[in-house]
Amino acid sequence: MPTASTGDRPSLPLTARDGSRRFRPDRWGALVTVGGAVLSLPLVAVLLRAGGESPAWESLVGNLLGGYIATTVGLVVLVVALALPLGVLPAWLVSTCDFPGRRLLSWMLVLPLALPTYVAAFVFYRLPEAAIPALVRIRTEHGADAFLTAEFALRFGLLALMLAAVLYPYLYLAARSAFSRQCRSQIESARLLGDGIAGAFFRVALPAARPALVAGGAFVAMEVANDYGAVHFFGVTTLSAGIFRTWFGSGDLVAALRLAALMMATMLVLLALERLLRGRAQYLTGSQATPPARRRLPAGKATLAVLVCLVPLAIGFLYPVGCLAHWAWLHVSAEGGFALPAGLRPVPALGLAAATTLFATVFAALVAYAARLRQTLPRRAAGGLLALGYAIPGAVVAVGVLSVTGFIDRLHLPLLPLIGGTLPALAFAYAARYFAIPLKLAEAGLEQIGRPVEEASRVLGAPPGRTFLAISLPLLRGPLIAAAILLFVDLIKELPLTLILRPAGFETLATTAFSLASEARLQACAVPSLLVIAAGVVPLFLLEKRLSPSRRHD
């Protein structure tokens, strides 16, 4: 570390031979490479082990695989198609129009993010019971085949609607931030050129928001493809549910891993497709642009706008939460109180989520910074690899983690206790699966800070490490807090990883709710479900206070 007391000290090494940069250890590169390697170990393990002996694979390919794939693709397409209007229309209304309740609705529309899909499923999968008389009539009038088809269509459609209503916030958030960044002049020129408000929406605002919508839609698609709890409850066998079924049902782990590898490949294709669709579409947006002035709607249209915003909110949040609250009330009044099930200790469960969040967020900031420092191929590849976990079902990551911990435990390293089935192993799995969230937000945050600030720091004599601590990290505070909140909420809701990897007897709110619901004790499961939702709503509220684009103007 150079020190100096005068300004005239030459700080250069003065001979041409000493320490050429090329031969110095590249600590930042090493950080990214090692981090990327460690966190992608589970995925590599899946690929390696998928090559083993598999008795069930042939019959799986012959009989079930086609159905799994068709179901997955159909469900993904249907959910995204339903979620698009549910997310985009309210986003457009709250960012360009003014009506009573707009500010409240603007943040409440995010709330379904706090509702895990499996909890929503507890509530929704009882709805088809109402259709039983109609189904019975179909059965008697048109025969068994028609009955089976109608019954499946009903379940499938309801599942898709429910998933769309719970997952639309990804599209809503993406669209809202895109609409509020679009500059006023673009929309206003469209209107001056003769487009009505609808014309401005379809011909200017929507196409210009396409990159954001593709990204949001990709999130929805990944969530659907990776979902385990909800599809399990509805008895719809997607690829992800098929992995569980092959593993636990036929006990053929290798066949399950091959399905997982297939799924990873599909996700890679989807991600590449998303890149391609976004492609060159880095549209010109005014960074300091004034968002369009909000148009005050007349009473009739205002009512309509409120309704449009209320529909997704009601299906995706208000109705299920209301149901759960009712069940919880029934349960508590029947039992005279609620006893936490044995094994559920909220403090270690929340502590685990918080510790993982902290570690992953800080590490993500470091990785994003290192990848920017020098855009070498390994660094960029590591960045992509690290984000891949998010595109892969929790069950697959869990199997990979089991393989890794099993391998390490079999080595019997001195001084190292067994790590399989411990909380650190679970934390590692969380990090491997969810690292994309803090990484992508940190990358976006750095992009927004811009390079000149970092370059100015370097030129002023601060090496990369000090630049990171003194400049990039403080400026990244906002995005990192947002990332930590989103990650924490996701970890509280997390189900498949926890189910497979938790230490014996360790219960989180999510596993408690899930096992109670699996035993059809719906009223009892309502209390932990509500706690999961509450644990998600509070951070989302804080996040919304920070991020809301309306905050700057109201």
Partner: protein, 333 residues
């Protein structure tokens, strides 16, 4: 290190970005002597900012050598690379790139780390005083005006006494009035510090106000370098001529050689010994405040492009021509 070594030297420096048809900087050679202000001028895409970033160590050359005080800092046979933080340079960005989470004083003190606390405070105060921001020391960048921010960026860059300060279009985001005032101020601050500087700009006014020498870049190639006045007088091409202001192409009817003259070089043959260059037809007369501009169409082989000239102050002795008139023209030698 000898006293006479140039502060910064480029030896055949090239930088070629992958996927672009031609190098952004193509075998540029130039040197900056201690105490001078050299301006790099050129259109967008001429490579002037790349050259500045190569000097700062924010880019690596693909060929050639960069030397500071005679010491190789980038390129050469070993492909040696001294990182920016060890080059002891100052850099002022187009938009300031101030640290938004630090006060004005903390921004200035950022580059002084490692010195005793009292020395840091003293130097910070001194630099803020030089840019007339001593009463804004506790403000954050967003609480300053555009001009104040740019002055603060300058103070921050000057504070560690860099051997060379790099200015990357430092005024391009300011309105014209502010630009004029600030470039005078910055010019005198640099002079007061005896500061060696490399100024990148596309505005000839910046060059005239601040630089001693100018280098003209076109598509990554250095076209001309020399004292500002002589480059202004004797540009080697249209591009070099127009980089520093309006220019008229005049062809000598006898030899057919072209030369570049400035609007204010226009003379009437009557007002001295200037030889007649030829004849021209007056196309338009325009009074613009302090001066009168004519657009002339050259006649008989003296060129095929209109000339934009400034009517010399003939104290009313020669009547102003009207559009359509033919007049004899001459140029200051």
């Amino acid at each position: 290190m000898t006293e006479s070594a140039p502060i910064l030297e480029f030896h055949a420096v090239s930088r070629h970005y992958a996927g672009t048809p031609r190098p952004a900087v193509d075998r540029v050679a130039l040197a900056i002597e201690p105490g001078e202000v050299l301006a790099l001028i050129g259109g967008s895409g001429s490579g002037k900012t790349t050259l500045l970033r190569l000097a700062a160590g924010l880019e690596s050359p693909d060929g050639g050598e960069v030397r500071l005080d005679g010491v190789l800092v980038a390129g050469g046979t070993l492909r040696r690379e001294v990182p920016p933080e060890r080059r002891r340079l100052g850099l002022v960005f187009q938009e300031g790139a101030l640290f938004p989470h630090l006060t004005a004083a903390a921004n200035v003190a950022y580059g002084l780390r490692g010195r005793p606390r009292a020395a840091i405070q003293e130097r910070t105060a001194e630099c803020l005083r030089h840019v007339a921001l001593e009463d804004k020391a506790g403000r954050y960048p967003h609480e300053l005006s555009g001009g104040e921010r740019q002055r603060l960026a300058l103070a921050r860059a000057l504070a560690p006494s860099p051997r060379l300060i790099l200015l990357d279009e430092p005024f391009s985001h300011l309105d014209p009035t502010l630009r004029r005032r600030l470039r005078e101020e910055v010019g005198s601050i640099l002079a007061a510090f005896g500061q060696t500087a490399l100024l990148v700009t596309h505005d000839p006014e910046d060059v005239f106000a601040m630089a001693g020498r100018v280098a003209i870049l076109e598509q990554g190639v250095l076209r001309q370098i020399g004292p500002v006045a002589s480059v202004y007088r004797d540009p080697v091409s249209r591009y070099c001529a127009e980089s520093l202001g309006a220019a008229n192409r005049v062809v000598d009817p006898a030899t057919g050689r072209e030369r570049w003259t400035r609007p204010e070089d226009f003379r009437l043959p009557a007002d001295g010994a200037t030889p007649t260059t030829g004849e021209a037809r007056v196309e338009a007369v325009r009074e613009t405040g302090a001066r009168i501009e004519l657009r002339l169409a050259p006649a008989d082989g003296a060129g095929d492009e209109p000339w934009h000239v400034i009517w010399p102050d003939t104290a009313g002795s020669t009547p102003l021509p009207a559009p359509g008139d033919r007049i004899a023209v001459a140029w200051r030698p």
